[in-house]
Amino acid sequence: MTKQLLKGNEAIAEAAVRAGVDAYFGYPITPQTELLEYMARRMPELGRAFVQAESELAAINMVYGAACAGKRAMTSSSSPGVSLMQEGLSYIAAAEVPIVLVDVMRGGPGLGNIAPSQADYFQMVKSAGHGDFKPLVLAPASVQEAVDMMALSFELAEKYRTIVTVLLDGVIGQMMEPAELPPMQPRRDTAPAWALTGASGRPKNGIIPFSLYAEELEVYNQRLQAKLARIAAAEVRFREYMLDDAELVLVGFGTSGRIALTAVKQARSLGIKAGLLRPITLWPFPERRLWQLADEARGFLVVEMNAGQMVEDVRLAVGGQAPVKFLGRMGGVVPMPDEILDAIQKLDKATRPRPVIGTIEGPVAPLRHPISVN
């Protein structure tokens, strides 16, 4: 296969098709609409299910139904649409049926705008719906990475019977860049034992994810949490750039991770030992790696396209071992490498060990640990 110039949303759609998606249900919303439009042509052409739903509420519940049948089902949306899907996401999490959601984030809150944003980190990572559950969240930083994540998303969703969200911003969704599509995979022709396919030659199956008895529901929750703990232990993914000797660690996901990398390279050319950790899974979060890095690092700089969301997880991971600074742009503004470089230089200056100068009275007290402020 060769690389083609592909638009993010369309490339994601085709990658899902090639990963064997059986059913797509969606609703138009910028900046993800091309994904829906692509599926509107492609799915019927292949004899697969496509419905433009009356709302995101309906779309996610159609996904729920198709997933209950043991089929590979997905939807895509953007921030306000995902708010409407949260009810269904919670039911799907409780039902433990595998689904894939592509969330192309835009500026908020409210109607916000259609510009790229990362303001829904909290929404997806911390509170994708009511009750105790977490989707597995993947954050691509390029069209190629998003393409490669589609097959992986279905595999992980089915492996753990969980929700997998591909969380990207409008930049990745709208951008065209060279990417290679995977070969077409055959669709699965067998249904899992739990699927609702009709009680033919077997006892009836039920996907009945509730219990009115507190003790029973607690046992159910414990099982769900044990599953999430297995995911947390096995599925952490991230990429490191120039971290071997880094004294300053930048952390950014998706588009801001990618821009931060440019700034890191610029910093290196100025002799500042900066590096980047780009989380690929936002949940589970690479907290252990960050904790290790904090042992050596002088300071951290988190770059996001929001008011400071992932930075909370970075601070928890770093555990006060080093200062954690934050640079964020909001409302659809994308940070520029220059402003990130500027923040790196400030962090460098603020955390540089001062030479201990001997005086008649003796050495000065060692430098106080800088306090982290935004």
Partner: protein, 260 residues
């Protein structure tokens, strides 16, 4: 004396599609009758092994226990969307949703109308007892004007709470709906007609003819604060005049075209 040969003929039995579980429904509630009618139809059409039920939120949230078919619980009001997902990926299966009036006529109005508009090849059984049962008797979109409920303690006021919503008439207007019928469960004669309508609704689906819905006027003695017999009579005297019985739409779509 010659011993008379005793022969037994079973004239009434539990349908195969109905489980042996005891229901949790209140005495006098007509959910049990509705369940039985559906189960009888499933048996008669020999579709139990390929039927999937979409269970709603409300008193019938436990309905999966009472049927011997595959089942999933949908979020409140979303049963037609869940049914759509199930049907689109396995068109050879028989999918039916069971919904109450709060579910179908209030929180799920968009889902039911658009499932009908798409001519979704599913069957919906709509239980209308003019009240929210599970939450304890609040006003429903189908509550009658003047009807006292826990959330309309002075009676449903036309000026501030509006008039009951006639969902079957509304759905009958939608091109994609093929069969829409309103029946009642207040008397043996009406129950027989209700079964006939349920059978026709499932047949429409089996023939791939599009969306079918049967509304069943039902009783809720507990929340109506009536004795069971009194409640059945109330359906006849109070509900039937507001919600007239009959087939609101019954067409035979031709050339795969559903609708008008």
């Amino acid at each position: 004396m010659i011993a008379e040969q005793l022969t037994e003929e079973i004239v009434a039995d539990r349908p195969q599609a109905l489980s042996t579980a005891d229901t949790h429904y209140c005495p006098g509630c007509t959910h049990g009758i509705a369940h039985r009618l559906i189960a009888e139809v499933i048996d008669e059409l020999a579709i139990r092994e390929r039927t999937i039920m979409v269970v709603p939120v409300g008193c019938s949230v436990f309905a999966d226990k009472y049927f011997e078919v595959d089942a999933v619980v949908a979020p409140h009001g979303r049963a037609p969307a869940v049914a759509t997902g199930l049907k689109r990926v396995q068109p050879d299966k028989v999918i039916f949703a069971y919904q109450g009036d709060g579910d179908l006529a209030s929180i799920g109005t968009a889902e039911i109308i658009h499932a009908a508009a798409r001519g979704e090849n599913i069957t919906v059984v709509f239980i209308n007892n003019a009240v929210y049962g599970m939450t304890g008797g609040q006003m429903a979109p189908t509550s009658l004007v003047g009807m006292k409920t826990t959330s309309s303690p002075f009676g449903r006021d036309l000026k501030t709470m509006g008039a009951p919503l006639h969902m079957s008439e509304l759905i009958a207007q939608v091109a994609g709906a093929t069969f829409v019928s309103r029946r009642s469960l207040h008397s043996p004669a009406e129950i027989r007609k209700a079964k006939k309508a349920i059978r026709r609704a499932f047949e429409v689906q089996l023939n791939g003819q599009g969306f079918s819905m049967v509304e069943l006027l039902s009783s809720c003695p507990t929340n109506w604060d009536m004795k069971p017999v009194e409640a059945l009579r109330w359906i006849e005297t109070h509900m039937v005049p507001v919600f007239p019985l009959g087939d609101l739409k019954s067409i035979t779509p031709k050339n795969g075209l559903r609708g008008i």
